[in-house]
Subunit: 151 residues, 2 copies
DNA sequence: CGAAGTAGTTTGCATATCTCCACTATACTG
DNA sequence: CAGTATAGTGGAGATATGCAAACTACTTCG
């Protein structure tokens, strides 16, 4: 069964499992987004949590990565900077660009939001062994280790 | 009780990995949604793929599960039924309600969209062993086995 | 039986986001 | 240099979605 078609089936199965996970978390994500910061639109949370997961980046990278247009991204980044959630510094190699990163406060807020949301998820793994849970975390870590290679 | 702190760290790590995965897939999801069906809004794809992952359900369950309100859900379900992507049947135990399920065409379209999107993801697991990939699929399956218990 | 509650639909309105476009500042190319 | 391309910002109008309320059909409870 270690054939090419088995491999393809495995990849399809991975796609379906990722789909299930994303579907299952979508409601929570949207609700978290709404409560991330009272003065911000939901999409701001998508930007913040991408920066939390993948680190500092240029606004256009962020826009591409989260699937928003540059205009909205720019506006939201501006608001988050005004609220002290993000810091921006000029890009070292290209003075047209900037690099945005979460501030300490921004990181704390994302972490708090994720943990709050995660509570509704922890019940599912309550019966898991530490080994299985650790394995899943490690494998997901490998899966998301690289920044998305977007089209 | 002292072992719970390691456990809690594991759970936090799981939350962060899920966050990374959801963040990484968000752009792809949004783009897939736009191309799922030319005459449908993006959110229709969220409904369709939830049904694909978790099977037939009542409209209100769907709305709750994907984090949309009942009115938008109802409208989108109506459009998808008109396009033949969904079938609806009266709920067996409560004639106020209905149960919606993907039609064969709807299932095919979701599968095609997922596979198309997945291609951009498969590159990441190309170097993985079948064992590791199978393990991840199995663990994700356990994680998403139950329908979301929403609050 | 009647009253109250629930599932689903529909409508009107508010808001968030997208699309396109223009503009500035900087980078690259010939 | 001059001309073109790119990063980021901002605006105007269009669309998608959320929210609240009304309405029908059905269920449940007293």
């Amino acid at each position: 069964m270690q054939t090419t078609s088995g491999r393809h089936d495995l990849e399809l199965a991975l796609g379906e499992q990722i789909n299930a996970l994303v579907s299952a978390t979508r409601a929570l994500s949207e609700r978290s987004a709404a409560t991330f910061h009272p003065q911000l639109q939901p999409a701001a949370f998508h930007i913040a949590r991408w920066l939390y997961a993948f680190g500092p980046a240029r606004p256009s990278q962020v826009a591409e990565a989260v699937g928003m247009d540059r205009s909205s991204t720019s506006t939201l980044i501006g608001k988050m900077r005004a609220l002290g959630l993000l810091d921006a510094s000029p890009a070292p190699e290209d003075r047209r660009g900037t690099v945005v990163r979460l501030s300490a406060d921004g990181r704390d807020r994302v972490a708090a939001t994720l943990e709050e949301r995660g509570k509704e998820f922890y019940g599912r793994v309550r019966s898991w062994s530490d080994d299985d849970l650790g394995r899943l975390v490690a494998l997901l870590g490998r899966l998301t280790a690289e920044r998305p290679a977007l089209s």
